[in-house]
């Protein structure tokens, strides 16, 4: 079972919910931190990293001695990653989306495959948990291929908890697509509500069942609750603002470590998710 924890707005508590839920469930769970631009789950779960690998995407390298400057590669590239001017050919690997068009179109076999490093994947264990995260290379623009690679470590026999990036565009889609459930985390503020609405649109597009956790539930107004009611989205958990929780977070500690009473609440959260998935209700 794959549960993707997403939010729209950043800083609402995705990582808090994902890590506390995973830690509470313990055995038989894996955490995939797909917020590869700013992965944070490891700061709370403190995994022992046992393996790492660099991830590359394929970009063109021109063998100039073979090139006839026919411009076909530059013409097929919609991302402007190749430019030909008279007898000069330039590639801009950072713009390349690795579609493979240039390799296929070149009549001289002058375009070779070269790697561009997207980042790193690290894999290990945190207590009973399986842990994998991606770390986008600073300066690299494209996170979705790295997110997909992190997700390739999904083990079907486990409960997979994905920590998704913020937003509603391609990286979030890469972290939610194919999940059995999207758990949305928001805060009851106008920013939280605005971005939640966008995230809900994305989840609807993917046709995945979803539910809501409201974090810092006492710092804002009622509009998020009203919206959830109106959209028929179940509010599965509310976490009030508590200085002890905020301080624990600031130090990289889990809520369930400093306030063990929360374990039961996270277990109940999981039971609600399971029930909703089994009932086949989208919301």
């Amino acid at each position: 079972m794959i549960i993707s924890v997403a939010s729209g707005k950043g800083g609402t508590g995705k990582t808090t919910v994902a890590t506390n839920l995973a830690y509470t469930l313990g055995t038989g769970v894996q955490v995939l931190d797909c917020d590869v631009e700013e992965p944070n789950a490891h700061l709370f779960l403190k995994p022992n990293i046992e393996q790492n690998e660099s991830v590359y995407t394929i970009v063109p390298e021109i063998h100039k001695y073979r090139c006839s400057f026919c411009r076909k590669c530059a013409e097929i590239c919609r991302f402007r990653a190749i430019a030909v001017m008279n007898e000069v050919i330039l590639t801009f690997p950072e713009l390349c989306h690795s579609c493979g068009g240039c390799f296929a179109v070149c009549p001289e076999n002058a375009v070779a495959e070269k790697g561009r490093e997207l980042g790193m994947i690290e894999k290990g264990r945190a207590g009973d948990l399986d842990f994998v995260h991606g770390r986008l290379r600073v300066g690299e623009a494209m996170s979705p291929p790295l997110i997909k690679r992190v997700r390739s470590y999904t083990r079907e026999e486990l409960i997979t908890i994905i920590d998704a990036p913020p937003g509603t565009s391609c990286p979030v889609i890469a972290a939610m697509k194919g999940a059995d459930y999207v758990l949305m985390v928001t805060e009851p503020t106008p920013f939280g509500l605005n971005d939640l609405k966008l995230a809900v649109e994305a989840v609807k597009l993917l046709n995945i069942p979803c539910g809501l956790v409201i974090n810092r539930s006492d710092m804002g107004d009622r509009r998020v609750t009203d919206y959830a009611e109106q959209e028929n989205i179940a509010v599965l958990m509310e976490i009030p603002f508590e200085r002890r929780i905020a301080e624990a977070y600031s130090k990289g500690r889990l809520i369930v470590e400093v306030l063990p009473g929360w374990k039961e609440k996270f277990l109940e959260l999981y039971r609600c998710i399971e029930k909703q998935i089994n009932s086949g209700n989208l919301r």
């Binding site: 986008l136 391609c170 920013f191 905020a246």
Partner: protein, 287 residues
């Protein structure tokens, strides 16, 4: 001379947008730009009066024409994004808009219309003109839309003879952030004193260094954890980043958001606003 300042954070939710809005209230001769096109929130504090709507054509999308398709399999073999299913229907979410299938289809059976990926707006606000946008849900090319809103902000500033652009940046360090900071006069990193805030601030500071944009940092909610605040300031010093100051944790941020106001309007005279004003003074004295 015109300067553009971009507010970033690495980690989301550290207070970028609230602080950008406060800067806008304090600044003069300024154009405001929201480059967080993916989950834009600045308009919620600015109540923009939109003068122009434009659609953003961010790419193309491949569509198989059933009548001409012979199901030869070429497109499915060549698509590196696995966007074409066994019934020869292209999944819009997976299609990257690369056009490889279009060019290689032996029957010319694949159309490639331009895709509208979002909208962008020119608006007036009580603090000055504003350029903002909305990327369509699940769309690609947020970087291109960011580049576009920044260009439009620049054109507007030149037209109106305004010498400052304040840009609210997106979280993270990927495509839209790279598009937000390139060529800017400076980035202001809004960090929070948590292990995540510190971790993410370092990465976005490295990114600014990578693109040679001078960085400054302020710590928001500093009193949630003084040790982490000091750690951020120390790292900033080591990385040659200007420390601008500290802003306390203050529910006034939430309160002003609910009122649709900046903290400068909502809580003028408070210690928090004094701290933000002090930071703003330090920034503009550099430019």
């Amino acid at each position: 001379m015109m300067n553009e300042l971009v507010i970033v954070s690495g980690k989301g939710g550290t207070g970028k947008t609230s602080i950008t809005a406060a800067f806008a209230a304090l600044a003069t001769n300024m154009v405001l730009c929201d480059a967080d096109v993916d989950a834009a929130d600045l308009h919620l504090l600015m109540a923009p009066d939109t003068r122009q709507h434009h659609s953003f054509e961010g790419g193309w999308i491949a569509v198989i024409n059933e009548d001409r398709c012979t199901e030869c399999g070429t497109c499915r073999e060549m698509c590196r994004f696995n966007a074409i299913n066994a019934s020869y229907v292209i999944n819009n979410i997976d299609c990257e808009g690369c056009g490889v299938c279009v060019d290689f289809c032996p029957e010319g059976a694949i159309d490639f219309p331009v895709k509208t990926c979002g909208e962008w707006y020119l608006s007036d606000t009580r603090f000055g003109p504003m350029v903002h946008a909305r990327l369509g849900i699940a769309e690609e090319n947020s970087g291109r839309l960011v580049t576009l809103v920044r260009q439009e902000a620049k054109i507007l500033a030149e037209e109106k003879n305004l010498d400052l652009i304040i840009t609210d940046g997106p979280p993270g360090v990927g495509c839209p952030v790279i598009a937000s900071i390139g060529g800017a006069a400076g980035v202001v990193i809004v960090a929070e004193p948590t292990v995540s805030g510190l971790h993410d601030m370092k990465r976005v500071a490295q990114l600014a260094g990578h693109f040679k944009v001078p960085a400054m940092v302020c710590v928001n909610k500093y009193n949630l954890n003084s040790d982490q605040t000091e750690a951020i300031e120390k790292i900033a010093q080591e990385m040659n980043i200007t420390n601008l100051g500290r802003i306390p944790f203050d529910p006034v941020f939430t309160g002003s958001m609910i009122q649709g106001k900046t903290i400068v309007e909502h809580a003028n005279g408070s210690d928090t606003v004094i701290a933000v004003k002090d930071i703003w003074e330090k920034i503009i004295n550099r430019y």
